[in-house]
């Protein structure tokens, strides 16, 4: 009841603590059900890396530095075929584009941290981490223990991925090539691709991209792949816009756009 308050005007209230032991434990607990699947996915990528012809040291370097399963799997057939480095880079970039959306959602929660810390947190935040974090903290408002919770998700996730992946590298080099274990990488990509195919437009894009990739397979420098992505994406956007126009037209005809 002092009236004037303790703080001079213009000074924002103190930010709640970023670190909190209880939130760290809560994050770890939230991530546990996903860890087995993450480890197995790492295992598949580990096997695929050595099966596509990388040496053990190269495969270990790739898993530790790149830390991106779908981009790694995507790059392997290109590396094996001797595609130019910029084509491999462009392909990985396109496969990773979904992370741009995720990072735009997650980053504002941590804008107050030092740059290096932000960089590292972003680098290690994959699909699962982002989904679980936003379930717990849907709002960008400051809240106690946000960093602890994120770390509770990130660190076990990173560890189980790396353990699985390194095990896969050694397992893969021990298994004979006739088993066709490299096919597990293709199956893993299917499992990432299917949930990304969210609607009719995306399905159309996927089919057009697949057909283009097969037809353009003989193009030099593996350019058929990038052509397929471009054509598929344009097809998906065209279908999306056409369906939208059609729906708006239908609504207008049925008298007024307010009801659905």
């Amino acid at each position: 009841m002092t009236g004037t308050g303790d703080q001079p005007p213009g000074v924002p209230p103190a930010r709640p603590d970023d670190e909190d032991e209880a939130l760290w434990r809560e994050g770890v607990k939230a991530g546990i059900p996903t860890l087995f699947g993450i480890g197995a996915w790492g295992l598949v990528v580990g096997v695929a890396m050595v099966k596509s012809g990388l040496t053990i040291v190269q495969a270990l370097g790739m898993t530790l530095l790149v830390f991106g399963g779908s981009a790694q799997l995507a790059s392997l057939p290109l590396i094996a075929a001797g595609a130019p480095i910029w084509v491999v880079f462009a392909t990985a970039l396109v496969v990773n584009l979904r992370f741009v959306i995720f990072s735009a959602l997650l980053a504002p929660h941590f804008a107050h941290l030092p740059a290096l810390k932000r960089f590292l947190l972003g680098y290690t935040a994959g699909d699962m981490t982002v989904a679980l974090f936003l379930q717990r903290f849907p709002s960008e408002e400051p809240a106690r223990g946000k960093v602890s919770y994120l770390k509770g998700l990130l660190i076990p996730n990173w560890t189980s991925w790396q353990v699985g992946s390194i095990a896969g590298v050694f397992l893969g080099s021990a298994v004979p090539p006739e088993w066709g274990l490299g096919f597990a990488g293709t199956l893993a990509i299917l499992c990432i691709m299917v949930p990304l195919t969210v609607n009719k437009a995306a399905l159309c894009g996927v089919l057009v991209a697949a057909a283009t990739a097969v037809l353009a397979y003989e193009l030099p420098y593996k350019l058929g792949l990038l052509a397929a992505v471009l054509v598929g994406m344009l097809a998906a956007m065209f279908v999306e816009e056409t369906l939208e126009k059609y729906n708006i037209g239908k609504r207008a005809k049925s008298g007024g756009g307010e009801h659905d």
Binding site: G82, L93, V94
Partner: protein, 109 residues
């Protein structure tokens, strides 16, 4: 690729991870991505993944289109998609698809 080219490629892939995952973190403040751009960012990865696996599933050993029952990868791939749509579990789908592929390969080859 030569040894050093593979290492340069690995470095480039690390840059691709950083560019897509960390760039917005370094910008910091809230940014709203326009709807059309979001669509592109959503559609492109699915198209890229389809373009990567399509040749493995649809082309025979000689690089020719193979849509027959002799193409075990295609059959196993379609069965795996059906299984994934039914169960929504990556690990089970990979195991199912590999078993399906191996049984086809051993019994029909």
């Amino acid at each position: 690729m030569t040894e050093w080219e593979i290492w340069v490629t690995i470095g480039a892939l690390a840059v691709a991870t950083a560019a897509t995952r960390s760039s917005f973190w370094l910008i910091g403040h809230h940014i709203t991505i326009p709807k059309r751009v979001q669509e592109m960012l959503r559609f492109a990865p699915a198209c890229a993944l389809a373009a990567i696996i399509a040749p493995d599933l649809l082309l025979g050993a000689g690089g020719q289109l193979s849509l027959s029952g002799q193409n075990f990868k295609l059959i196993a791939g379609l069965a795996a998609i059906a299984y994934y749509l039914f169960r929504r579990n990556m690990l089970e789908t990979i195991i199912f698809g590999m078993l399906f592929f191996t049984v086809l390969r051993l019994s029909l080859a």
